[in-house]
């Protein structure tokens, strides 16, 4: 104790007290978290403003004689005529390992009641994305544990892949499954404008499966001010950037950017910025592009870390041609399109593999997965084409019939329950079996049972093969021969078991 006092005494003795020079202003207008301040002639854009009583704001509109600012926190304490000071600082959030396993708000303050956060350092909320020199192309896969995604729309570390679809189509489920499947990747889930109950459920689920050990939740719920909802994704991104700078891999999920755009529209209209299409301000594209551009795969000289972004967009009646969806589609490196029709038809995840695409993820896919995915894509494409045609034809030639039957079985294999991610080696084995026709003789309704039993059998009797696929990351001839033998034996056993 005496050491602490002595240290403080020494610190105070060395302290050089300066005359404080400040730039001040006066609140002339206040409404819905947005204030208009007269004065503050020296304030810079995005500077943190001190409203007193522990309340801070952000200068966003710099005009001739006044400044438009957004407030973070309880703005009911502020009155017309209140004094505002410029701080000379830009908005920063705490970052570091201390945040892992915690639920924080848009300013990085804990809201989970687990006490103060020990931050490693502070990072600015707004930051220019890494340049070309510091980056390298995507080359490592980020396994989601979802067969349809890992095989057909692969995601690489450092990629930006959009998850788009109507409400209740399983967008958040894909994001949670991806978090659950991570082992060496730190995940940041940013909840924007969501129900607090939904966030609580999500935290409980992640805790239940032990995924909170590598996850940070940034929450700006529907009850939070629009300013906090606007800030949350940028704060989450800063937290992710810290891990990327440390040479680690991080994953950030923005759930969802439609609500983020809505909160930005509210803020902009209150700031009296001119509105454009659908009343969104002109810079709504830049809002999302500057956020998503911060996702990157750094080159080895710069640590080799990565920040993968999975933004989510909610569409209305499957309309992807609306303003915000088209914007985000054009910014990201691909999109996963989820359809309510597929969802209600029992295809879950309700991924429309026809229009979903990953522009750069293919480069990061493992050889083993690539060898089965190529055939899978082709089979599925042919199935989709023939399926529509077959609806009108009663008589089909055997080749067409086989392709349709194969397609049905592939669709069954790609179905997956929520919160049950599958490892890559298991995915490779299942997809190899179905694309090579080993499930053609199994009834469509029993395909999932077959797959489950098949994987269980391999796990029990041929664990070595699975671990070989996992370590070598490719399917060589020897492995294929072994797989052929195992699968043939299993098909026979399965058939006999079904007959009984």
């Amino acid at each position: 104790m005496s050491d602490v006092i002595a240290a403080i005494e020494k610190d105070i003795l060395n302290l050089k007290l300066k005359t404080q020079k400040q730039n001040i202003g006066t609140v002339v207008e206040l409404g819905d978290g947005v204030a208009r301040i007269e004065g503050l002639s020296d304030v810079s854009y995005s500077e943190l403003l001190d409203f007193g009583q522990g309340l801070f704001g952000l200068a966003l509109n710099l005009e001739n004689y006044n400044v438009g600012a957004v407030l973070f926190g309880d703005f009911t304490k502020i009155k017309e005529g209140s004094e505002v000071k410029s701080t000379g600082r830009i908005l920063e959030v705490p970052v570091g390992e201390g945040l892992i396993g915690r639920v924080v708000d848009g300013l990085g303050q804990p809201i989970d009641g687990k006490g103060a956060i020990k931050a490693a350092t502070h990072y600015p909320v707004e930051k220019i994305a890494s340049g070309v020199i510091t980056r390298q192309s995507v080359n490592t896969p980020l396994q989601t544990g979802i067969k349809a995604i890992d095989a057909l729309i692969p995601i690489g570390r450092g990629q930006r892949e959009l998850i788009i679809g109507d409400r209740n189509t399983g967008k958040t489920t894909i994001a949670i499954d991806t978090i659950i499947n991570q082992k060496d990747v730190i995940c940041i889930y940013v909840a924007i404008g969501q129900k607090t109950s939904k966030i609580a459920q999500l935290v409980a689920k992640l805790e239940e499966v032990g995924a909170m050990d590598h996850t940070i939740i940034v929450s700006a719920s529907a009850s939070d001010a629009a300013t906090m909802q606007y800030l949350a994704p940028f704060a989450g991104c800063a937290m992710g950037e810290y891990f990327m700078d440390q040479g680690k891999d991080a994953l950030i999920i923005y759930d969802d950017l439609s609500k983020h755009a809505n909160s930005y529209r509210q803020m902009s209209l209150l700031l009296r910025r001119p509105s454009g299409r659908e009343a969104y301000p002109g810079d709504v594209f830049y809002l999302h592009s500057r956020l998503l551009e911060r996702a990157a795969k750094m080159s080895k000289e710069y640590g080799g870390g990565s920040l993968t972004a999975l933004p989510i967009i909610e569409t209305q009646a499957n309309d992807i041609s609306a303003y915000i969806p088209t914007n985000v589609i054009s910014i990201t490196d691909g999109q996963m399109f989820l359809e309510s029709d597929l969802f209600f038809a029992g295809v879950r995840p309700a991924l429309n593999v026809g229009i979903s695409v990953s522009r750069v993820g293919g480069a990061a896919q493992t050889k083993a997965m690539k060898s089965v995915a190529g055939r899978l894509k082709l089979d599925l494409a042919q199935f989709r084409e023939l399926q529509a045609f077959a609806q009108f034809a009663s008589d089909l030639d055997p080749a067409t019939k086989l392709q349709i039957e194969r397609g049905r079985r592939i669709t069954e294999v790609l179905k997956q329950p929520p919160f049950a991610p599958v490892s890559v080696e298991e995915q490779v084995v299942s997809l190899w079996a179905v694309t090579n026709g080993y499930m053609d003789e199994v009834e469509v309704e029993k395909v999932r049972d077959f797959e489950k039993a098949f994987i269980q059998q391999i796990k029990l009797k041929n664990k070595k093969l699975l671990s070989e696929i996992a370590t070598k990351k490719e399917l060589d001839e020897k492995m294929v021969k072994e797989l052929e033998k195992i699968t043939k034996d299993f098909v026979g056993t399965f058939k006999r078991g079904n007959k009984k």
Binding site: L15, T19, Q20, K21, Q22, S41
Partner: protein, 133 residues
Amino acid sequence: MKASKQLKKTIEKLVESSFLDGRMLESKVVKAVKVLKTLSKTESILALSEYLIGLKRIERQHTMYLETAIPFSAAQIKKAKKIIEKKVKITKVKMNINPDVLGGFKLKVGDEVWDETILSKINQIKERIVHHE
């Protein structure tokens, strides 16, 4: 109703011309008000209010506010004024006695504040203790 760009420019010019060396010229103000009164009723109300805001703003830029625990002597005020006048012409000095500042002074001109009070120094020490690592 919002003032048009043209009207805003005119008001700005009138405000600027109403001051000479930081001092408000009564004749110019009367003339400006007469000009603005010639506009339509709604426009003239709006223009007059904008004009008054402008006058206040410029006046504030040339007024020195001093906040102290005990009154400053005339010589002290003159000294402070002289230092400030290197940057901006001071036409008015307003004193505020506030024992809460404990000692020293706080000087405000326009948007700028120089805080040399004991209270501010104590706050700096307090900040250092709170954020001591």
